[in-house]
Symmetry: C2
C-alpha cells in the first residue's frame, strides 16, 4: 500500500486517546474501511502521572514512555503522535530515542490555526495543565501571531481545571465538563474570545455537557487528528 | 505492573475498533488513568474485504491478517482479540500463527449471556454477515442453550443488512442505523424477543439512531469488551 503507519503513544488518559482515534476516523474522507488512516495505538495507561511528576510530587514518566517508544519502534511506523499535551515535556528525549519521527501537538495546533488566515489575532484563553502552561509552547506561538493570551488564575487551576481534568480521567465526564465549562466562562468574562483546549481531557468533558464553548475553541486533539489525516493523504497521493 | 497487555487486531472496520476501545474504557471500574486496561490497538484497515472474500468476489484477507498477527507478536502481548465477527473465519489460522492466545468473540458473547442465568431461552434474532451466518458459531451455541434462532431472509440481507453495514463503514451511521433498525423490526415481527448483534458495525449504527432495540440486544462488541476487562481484573488480582 503506502508507507504511512502512524503510531499513537497514548494512554494519557485512555479516553483522550480514544477521542483522538475517533476524531481521526470522522475527519477522514472515506468510502470504505480501506480508505481510513492506518494506526497503531499504544493505549497503555500504566504511566506515572505527568502532572504530579512536573509538580515534584510523583516519579517521572520518562522511563515508561521510553519503553513505549522502543516497543512502538519494533513496528514499521512512519510517524508517532502523542495525544497528551503535558507529556510533550519529554518530547525531545522521546524524539532522540525514536527512529520514527514525532509530531509536536502544538505545531499541529498552530498549523491548524494558520489555515484560518482570515481570523484576526484574538484574546485567546489557554486551558492546560500547570506543566503545559509553564512550558510556554502555546503562549510563544500565539504571541508570535499577535494574539493576547489569557491563562487561568492559580485559584481557577486549583478549583476548576485540576478537578475537572481528573474527573474526566475517572470517566465522570459530566462532572468534569461542568467544571471546565465554568473555567471557560471565567476566561470569557476576562475577555477571551476563543479558547485553546491544550489538555486532551478538556474536549471530551466539554462535549459531555454540550458546551457552547466548543464552537469557539481550538481543540488540540482535533488539530492532531487533522495532521494525521494529512500525513495519510500525502502518502496516498505520492503512491 | 502486571503481565496483561491485550492486543486488538482491528481495522475491520476502524469505527468498530474504536467502538470496542470505548466500550472497554467505559466498562472498566477506574479512579485514574492507571486503572484502565492496557491495550495495543492495530487499527490498520488496509485489509481485503472479508465479506467479499467469503463470497468469492475478492482476495483473501488472510495474508494481511497474518502480517498483522506477526507485527503484534513483536510486542509482549498476553492476549489478542478481534473486533470483527466475520474475520473469525480465519481464527484457527491466526491462532496457529500467534504466540499470544486469541479470544473468540462468540465465546466471549456466550460467556456474557450465561451470566444472565435467570433469562430463559428465547427466540433470538441473529444479525450478522453471510459469512458469520454460514459459519454457525452463534446458532450452534444458542441451540445448545435451548434458544430458537431466527436469521434474516436472503432479501433482508440484500436490502437491509449489507447496505446498512457498508453505510456504517462509510461513516454514514444514521443511514446505516435506519436500515439496521428496519431489519431488527422485521426479526421482531417474526417473533424475535432479543437480538444478537453479531457484526461489530451494527451496534454503532443502532446507537446513532437511538434504537429501542439496543436495550434488548446482546452486543458482541460489548461482550468482547467485558472479556477484556475481566482479563485485566484477573491479572491485577493475581499480581
Amino acid at each position: 500500500m503506502t508507507d504511512c503507519l502512524i503510531g499513537v503513544l497514548g494512554g494519557m488518559g485512555p479516553l483522550a486517546t480514544a477521542d483522538l482515534v475517533q476524531k481521526i476516523i470522522v475527519s477522514t474522507p472515506a468510502d470504505r474501511d480501506q480508505d481510513h488512516v492506518p494506526l497503531v495505538v499504544w493505549n497503555v495507561p500504566q504511566i506515572p502521572d505527568r502532572q504530579k511528576a512536573l509538580a515534584g510530587t510523583g516519579p517521572s514518566p520518562l522511563p515508561v514512555l521510553l519503553e513505549a517508544i522502543r516497543a512502538l519502534n519494533k513496528l514499521p511506523l512512519s510517524h508517532i503522535v502523542i495525544p497528551c499535551n503535558t507529556a510533550h515535556h519529554w518530547f525531545d528525549a522521546l524524539t532522540a530515542a525514536s527512529r520514527a519521527p514525532l509530531l509536536h501537538i502544538a505545531d499541529a495546533t498552530l498549523a491548524a490555526m494558520h489555515k484560518h488566515v482570515t481570523v484576526p489575532p484574538q484574546v485567546t484563553g489557554l486551558i492546560a495543565t500547570h506543566g503545559t502552561l509553564r512550558a510556554g509552547w502555546y503562549q510563544q506561538r500565539l504571541a508570535a501571531g499577535g494574539n493576547e493570551v489569557l491563562e487561568p488564575t492559580p485559584q481557577e487551576m486549583e478549583e476548576l481545571f485540576v478537578p475537572g481534568c481528573y474527573a474526566v480521567k475517572r470517566g465522570e465526564l459530566i462532572e468534569g465538563g461542568v467544571l471546565l465549562e465554568q473555567l471557560a466562562d471565567r476566561l470569557a468574562k476576562r475577555g477571551a474570545t476563543r479558547l485553546i483546549l491544550a489538555c486532551t481531557e478538556v474536549a471530551p468533558g466539554l462535549a459531555a455537557v454540550n458546551s457552547r464553548w466548543l464552537a469557539r475553541s481550538i481543540d488540540t486533539t482535533q488539530a492532531l487528528a487533522q495532521a494525521c489525516v494529512e500525513l495519510w493523504q500525502q502518502s496516498r497521493a505520492s503512491y
